[in-house]
């Protein structure tokens, strides 16, 4: 049987919402969450000084009982204070974010790449090390000026599909 895939349209941000709307048998499980200091890479992505306190969350998305993607998000802690104690298991991160802080990212810019998984990613996704995966990385923003969140999603390569359209100008 063909595995479930998630079609990402250009008006969706929350994957959990798509899973819910399409009645897909899926959930999320938090692997770790907490506060850490921005390293060089994260400070560049979020446009903040090195060492800025960030909230981070790493979770897996489980569909039909199988782990299909590993998702990591980082954002400036000061903007989301208090969220570090929330239990995000099985819930939409963006829905809780809005409820707890009033923040709702409006824009998202992401790049899709084909990469080899790390040993840890291969183990979590139950795939061979040589099986290439989809890496989606990007930022969300609230006001189009400052990035609010930097995220990376490592997924089994068939898991996400992107729907788009262009018109001649």
């Amino acid at each position: 049987m063909e595995k479930t895939c998630i079609v990402r349209e250009l008006i969706d941000l929350s994957i959990s919402k798509v899973v819910g709307d399409k009645n897909i048998n899926g959930t999320t499980k938090t692997i770790e969450q907490g506060i850490k200091e921005a390293n060089y890479h994260l400070s560049r992505q979020l446009n903040v000084p090195l060492g800025t306190k960030l909230f981070y969350i790493k979770k897996v998305r489980i569909i039909d009982g199988e782990t299909r993607s590993i998702e990591t998000a980082h954002m400036v802690y000061n903007k989301v204070k208090g969220i570090e104690d929330v239990d995000f298991n099985g819930k939409s991160f963006y829905a809780i974010l809005k409820e707890k802080t009033g923040i709702q990212p409006r824009k998202c810019k992401e790049e899709i790449m084909i990469v080899e998984p790390t040993k840890e990613e291969a183990e979590m996704l139950c795939i061979p090390l040589e099986e290439e995966v989809m890496l989606i990385k990007g930022t969300t923003s609230i006001d189009e000026i400052e990035p609010f969140e930097y995220f990376e999603i490592v997924a089994e390569s068939s898991f996400y599909r992107y729907k788009g359209g262009i018109s001649a100008v």
Binding site: I11, M113, I114, M134, S157, Y162, S167, A168
Partner: protein, 240 residues
């Protein structure tokens, strides 16, 4: 943000080599000459040459000059996603300043059956055109294109290697106007691994799309495999 000047000069020299303006073994013009030509400091030219030498692209011989040693790899990438407004892949390649060429692997009429019935609802016959798009003579994309025979005729007589599919369509009164696409990642079919110069089971960006003309008629279905090395996939979304 613009690149440092020495990197811009490096890219200019690389492009000249890729485009064949400078061949392997050929001597580069002198540092002084480049400094005057581009209006930049001679040390900047020297820095660019030094970096190119470190990359193995040129070799300086004391008392003689600097010579092209090898053709650089392609560095630009074609952007897929929802930001491009260009239907034509060849045009996207040329817009990046790279050479675009195509090879037709096959062109034949096929009966509309199986999954194709979903797209070709009013047709019994379609043309299947299989082509490879090259960037600077490197295989870049394998494209399987299907167009309805009810709108298009005598495709066998058209030169799809040197002229664009969209010119052909427009000539037949069906100017492409809107395209709806899906992007996913899949293995390149095994039979094309050799011709695309990749190992078996290599994963490619699979971009499949349906094209409609100005009267909303369905005029094309294409399955296009894009080499990840030369592809940048970007999506932007606005949440309403």
């Amino acid at each position: 943000m613009s690149l440092p000047i020495y990197q811009q000069l490096m890219n200019t020299i690389k492009k000249k080599i890729i485009d064949g303006e400078l061949n392997v073994g050929e001597k580069l013009e002198s540092e002084r000459s480049m400094s005057v030509r581009y209006g930049i400091n001679r040390m900047t030219v020297r820095n660019a040459i030094k970096k190119l030498e470190e990359e193995g692209i040129v070799k300086s011989i004391r008392g003689s000059g600097t010579y092209v040693q090898l053709v650089p790899q392609i560095e630009s990438q074609i952007e897929l996603g929802n930001q491009d407004r260009n239907f034509s892949l060849s045009m996207q390649i040329r817009d990046k300043g790279m050479k675009s060429s195509r090879r037709v692997l096959s062109l034949k009429k096929r009966i509309v059956e199986g999954e194709f019935k979903e797209y070709f609802t009013n047709d019994t016959l379609m043309y299947e055109l299989i082509r490879i798009a090259f960037i600077n003579d490197h295989p870049y994309a394998l494209q399987k294109t299907y167009i309805p025979c009810s709108y298009f005729e005598n495709a066998e007589r058209f030169d799809f290697e040197n002229f664009s599919l969209y010119e052909y369509m427009t000539d037949h009164g069906h100017c492409p106007s809107y395209s709806s696409s899906y992007l996913r990642i899949e293995k390149l079919p095994e039979e094309y691994a050799t011709i695309m110069n990749v190992k078996k089971d290599k994963k490619f960006f699979l971009y499949d799309y349906q094209v409609y003309d100005t009267n909303q008629n369905f005029i094309e279905y294409t399955i296009s495999y894009h080499h990840p090395q030369y592809t940048k996939c970007m999506y932007e979304r606005s949440i309403v």
